[in-house]
Amino acid sequence: MLSTLSKTARISQTRFLRLSHSAAAKDAKPKKAPVAAVDSPSFVMNLFRGKAVTDQVFPYPLNMTEEQKETLGMVMSPLEKMLIEVNDVVKNDETSDIPRAVLDQFAELGTFGVLVPPELEGSGFNNSQMARVAEIVGAYDLGFGVVMGAHQSIGYKGILLEGTDAQKQKYLPDLATGRKFAAFALTEPTTGSDASSVRTRAELSADGKHYVLNGGKIWISNGGFADVFTVFAQTPVKLADGSTKDKMSAFIVERAFGGVTSGPQEKKMGIKGSNTTEVHFDNVKIPVENLLGKEGEGFKVAMNILNNGRFGIPAACTGAMKHCIQKTVDHITTRVQFGKKLQEFGNVQEKLVEMISKLYATESIVYMLSSNMDRGIKEYQLEAAIGKVLASENAWHVCDDAIQVHGGMGFMRETGLERVLRDLRIFRIFEGANDVLRLFIALTGAQHAGKHLAEQASGVGGLIGLAVSRVTGGNTGSNFGQVVDSSLQDSAKALDQQIALFGQTVQGLLMKHKKGIIDRQYEMHRVANAAIDIYSSAAVLSRATYAIKHKASSADFERKVAIYYVEKVLKNKLNFLLKIIFQAMRSSNRYLKDAANGTENKEKVATIESLAKEVCGNGGLTLQHPVEL
């Protein structure tokens, strides 16, 4: 998992360049037909057009059969018991190891083949069942969760998703039962977020029977003991014009092929129990049948694996948050200061509710995402990215607050929260750094909106007509009135307004910056944050409506949490975020004028640029100390 810094940003950038060309095509080459804009079923994608397309969000899509629930229920108690009795999270952290004997016991339980079909010796769970399992593991040992995730969420996920029948038959039974372990090998010293820049190479042998693999990977989770690796390497691919070009391909590489060596266990800040090493390939002979997917399409394979496995992180983070909240409740209901239990202090109550609302939003997204995947929805890449960003940051803040409420005790190792905080830190970095995922969300969404904008602009009235319609329109086409519970309609209205505002803002940015939008990180970062707030609010309203409709025992509690959350992120924060982008948000005319003039943010971005430049140019801080010494 450590190895999977996202290349998603890169893919979106190249795609986006193409899109912005077409968006800008009106001005430059009016005669060229624009690329046909395709409608998307994704809620987040449509936000960028100011539309509320709610099919994937309402009603809350969780739909487990009684049998699936029963099987899940049957495995939950033994899993929890084993995490307490067999696994020792403190020892794993101290020794930077999880003994193989422990892994073997969990393998017997079936935790290493959760999604693999029973015919291939797996447990045959769906994604929602898997999420619940990941949640439990995340609550007890995030390092163990990483071993599990590196193995099945990415390590052999490529075989499950893209493998041929023969590859599945050969590898999955051993991997699903934990007789063998897998790892995902992408990251290299010069390849972090920019994943397509790998230097590891695989060349076809003269007899055409093998690829010969050479190169080195770093920070590979399970790298020290994995038997099977999904490796990404450059291969020379013949193009239609007869020339050859290096393109990335994916391979299934066995340690047993020879020439595969691992470095020592890395010294890390957290998730120490998980194994992280370098992996080197020295003239490794890979049989041609071990090519995973098509030659030259490794990038697509990698993206597919990462997208598909991404919900595991928010699930594990959800578990970690529940652990932190439980510890907090235990503490504040017993600890007495100034003659009162901590739970009686308003500030403590506020912190606790803040933690609960963050958990609620994250959990609502996790099971919305997993259920949508379970019902065969293919377009969830932005939703998955949002889930990953939001969950990893919410978990970090929840754990941080839990430590704060514990006071000095929170800082002590014995309390067990400092380890969780250390473990959680990597979740904002690996499997797509949150900063890069934010750009991915904003740019992919803007690309989609841009295509539609270009198409609309080419119609009657052109850009001017478009601008007019944007000002006078602002109808999201939402059906919140019907799908959101009547007691949550105020929140739904706020959501609807913000979606309209969001769409207008994105379109304004597109019209102003055209393809230059790629370099507008200041604005894109904020657009992504706004999208995260809107999607999580929608997920929360959907989940609370579901709870009310199904008469959940906590329905009233959920209603209150939902109202609190939407109030917090939409009514206050989002307006603020958007105002940063367009200072004159309140007046539509002013907003359009500013968008056209390009005055907004100019000074602030220029200040940021100049300050950063000065410090970097100096090779360190240029600040004079107030005592002049």
Binding site: G73, P78, M82, S123
Partner: protein, 242 residues
């Protein structure tokens, strides 16, 4: 030897029990349930006997609402060969007493010809500890209660002749985990459902629950300096004659 093992679906031991607002019972909806831990131990012992070829068949039994099948499938995943679910409604299940369970078990033992019945020494929800002795009485079989070791021909403290009723204590064994592969396999094992009326067992409640309340909150204790201090305190509180 054919062994019948009783397994009860109870609120999981790790769940913090909450009393319903109307004080008619405890909250069970949306609460994690599992197999009564003492029943797990009884089951483990029976499965071990089968693995040692001392038993020929292990059949799990549960009397309860529709979700009791969950614990029966867990029992199948842990090594039982078959399962029998005697069906009552959830409403009826909440009012079942040890006597009803014992009478139902007797019917099953007689119709299916079992040689031994293994039960947990008590269920962790009502803590009655009555089913095993009542059943032994009804069957007129010897009973070995609170067993902490089971051996064939051993020199244990109590010998019983087959057929018999056994109730398992905490330290008898460490039950195995139900693994996912076994849970999947268990789905193919036979689970017979019998409506309670087909057995002709009367389950009319003999007790009436007037009110369920939380246990009183424990008062904070205090520390004493030494033995003399302790004695003085005990005298002061009237626990020891002055």
């Amino acid at each position: 030897m054919k062994i019948l093992v009783g397994v009860k679906r109870v609120v999981d031991y790790a769940v913090k029990i909450r009393v319903k607002p109307d004080r008619s019972g405890v909250v069970t909806e949306g609460v994690q349930h599992s197999m009564n831990p003492f029943d797990e131990i009884a089951l483990e012992e029976a499965v071990k006997l089968k693995e040692k070829k001392l038993a020929t068949e292990v059949v799990a039994f549960s009397l309860g609402g529709p979700k009791s099948q969950e614990v029966l499938r867990t029992a199948l995943a842990k090594g039982a060969d078959k399962a029998i679910h005697v069906q009552v409604s959830d409403e009826e299940a909440s009012k079942l007493e040890s006597f009803h369970v014992a009478k139902t078990l007797k019917k099953i033992v007689e119709s299916e010809k079992f040689d031994a019945v293994f039960l947990g020494k008590q269920a962790i929800d009502d803590d009655s500890s009555q089913t095993a002795p009542i059943l032994a009485g009804l069957l007129d079989w010897p009973q070995a209660l609170y067993a902490s070791k089971v051996e064939e021909g051993g020199d244990g403290h109590m010998k019983v002749k087959i057929p018999f009723v056994l109730s398992a204590d905490l330290r008898l064994n460490e039950p195995r985990y139900a693994t996912l592969p076994n849970i999947m396999k268990a789905k193919k094992k036979p689970l017979k459902a019998i409506p309670i009326k087909d057995l002709g067992v009367d389950i009319k409640p003999q007790t009436e629950t007037i009110e369920v309340t939380e246990p009183p909150v424990r008062q904070a204790g205090g520390f004493v300096e030494d033995v003399a201090g302790l004695v003085a305190k005990l005298k002061e509180k009237g626990f020891v004659k002055a």
